[in-house]
Amino acid sequence: MRLNCNMEMKILKEGSGEIFCKNTPSEVREWTRKNKTRALIDKRMPIKEAIKKFVHNGDYLAIGGFGHIRIPMVSIYEIVRQHIKDLSVAGHTAVQDIDMLMAGGCVKNVDIAYVVGFELRGLSGVQRRLFESGEVKKTEYTNGAMAYRLRAGAQGIPFIPVKVMLGTDTMLHSPGKVVRCPFTGEKVLLLPSLNPDVLIMHAHRADIYGNVQIDGHIVKDDLQARASKRVIVTVEEIISDDSIRADPGKTIIPFYMVDAVIEQPWGSHPGNMPYKYYFDHEFTEEYLAAGRDKDLKVIERWLDDWVYSFEDFDEYLTKLGSKRLYRLKDDEFLRVKNGGR
């Protein structure tokens, strides 16, 4: 039923969670006019340069994919290598991606929808340590709530009414506010919109201008690109502008949203890249074991071995070796291990 209510919107209940991202949609709109080019220009650059240019200490960072699926590991490793500090992170199904950033000491605040867990693989030692000690600050949300916030940010409105989190402690530890809908009278939760400073994401392919294609589920990458100020896209493959124009319906993210394009095959390792390669399960298990060790030197040594000692991602791939990488293709396509190799 629809009412013609003539009432003041009263806050009936509210959470105490801190809002870590300070950008408002109106500010971001102004900023976009001055700072984002609409020209069709070649946006390729080395990952080192992209991270240096677009990810700063204290930024609010959004990450594409789903925690350990289609995650931008090449950007994550580079952020850790450049010792970027005090990041606030959108932790919606944040798994291997946020764990590495937290192990590297890059994170100050997290909007939590899902953290600490590696789903079936169990809990992370690194994240438990930092969240249980209170060293990293947090605000609670849900995966849906974070997506709604991004939708508001993409739409350019400052808040959004939702029908989740109501009645729970999750709401009480969020910045949400419960009000009555002025049109129907029912209770809804208002959440602040989210416009991250920068998005790092990994996709299947793009052209040099940043027209991006993703195969399979998109998770939140479309919304995150639309809501974020800066967008760094790493791809398995750069394709021609002609191929993009041959099937424009496949372009999930148009070029003007994108600031940097980096071609990096295997760029999601040890994550799962749908239709390309499956998880490197052993790698992640070894990483998790290092993070769970009470002796903090063990994870530091792991970071030395796999991040700090490398100049770039190519050296990382060389250390992994082609045999190991191609085995992940067998896993992805459910083929017999080492089929024909």
Partner: protein, 258 residues
Amino acid sequence: MSRNYTLRELMACVAAKQLEDGKAVAVGTGLPLVATMLAQQTHAPNLVIIFEAGGIAPQLPILPISVGDSRTIHKALCTTTLIDIMDTIRRGYVDYAFLGGAQIDSYGNLNSTMIGDDYEKPKVRFPGSGGANDFGSLAWETLIIMDRHSPRRFVKKVDFITTPGYLYGPGAREEEGLSENTGPSRVITDLCLFDFEPESKRMRLIACHPGVTVEDVIKATGFEIIIADNVRTTDPPTEEELRLLHEVIDPLGFVFKK
């Protein structure tokens, strides 16, 4: 008669039977997913399985490690976005949310956020809601699977309400702004099966697993339970169900450790 089985395996089989063919289920990682796969491979081939990362109606070949990995879109009918999945549930298309948690109370409120009484410095920090609160708020029915049934997990008051059950009693969900005719309908444990008494919205014992007594359930539960007039005994797993669990669904032993 089937060969030896564990109560955990039996729990997965009983959980699978709660899903009706031709309905839609939004499902979380681990045991809920095992039960859902078993249902798809036995009595419910037309079960519509929905994953929050964007996979719709896949034919699951093997247990996914994540609710977003490649297996969740294997032979799917549609791949989409997370917000589209939440919209689909909110619009009323999804019959069941299928969830687990670390703690549960008599109203079916679930905690997957933390253990302890200090939010800033919890004893153990768990993942948080993920999509669980969304599913439990928006789906018509919530099915809950709880492993290791004990007073530490079945508690009077959960340390943190991550996902809403019936909150504090009849009418509470509606009072807080959640939709009518929603909420938990079944809790499946490694000892027994509960539903929720319609009047009080509290957990009610309706069946025990073979070899488990009502007394065992009372002892393992940290709150007072309602006991149905006729407490049934659940059916033991069949040979075929056990084969599917170990050879097809979880051959690598992620859930049923080898």
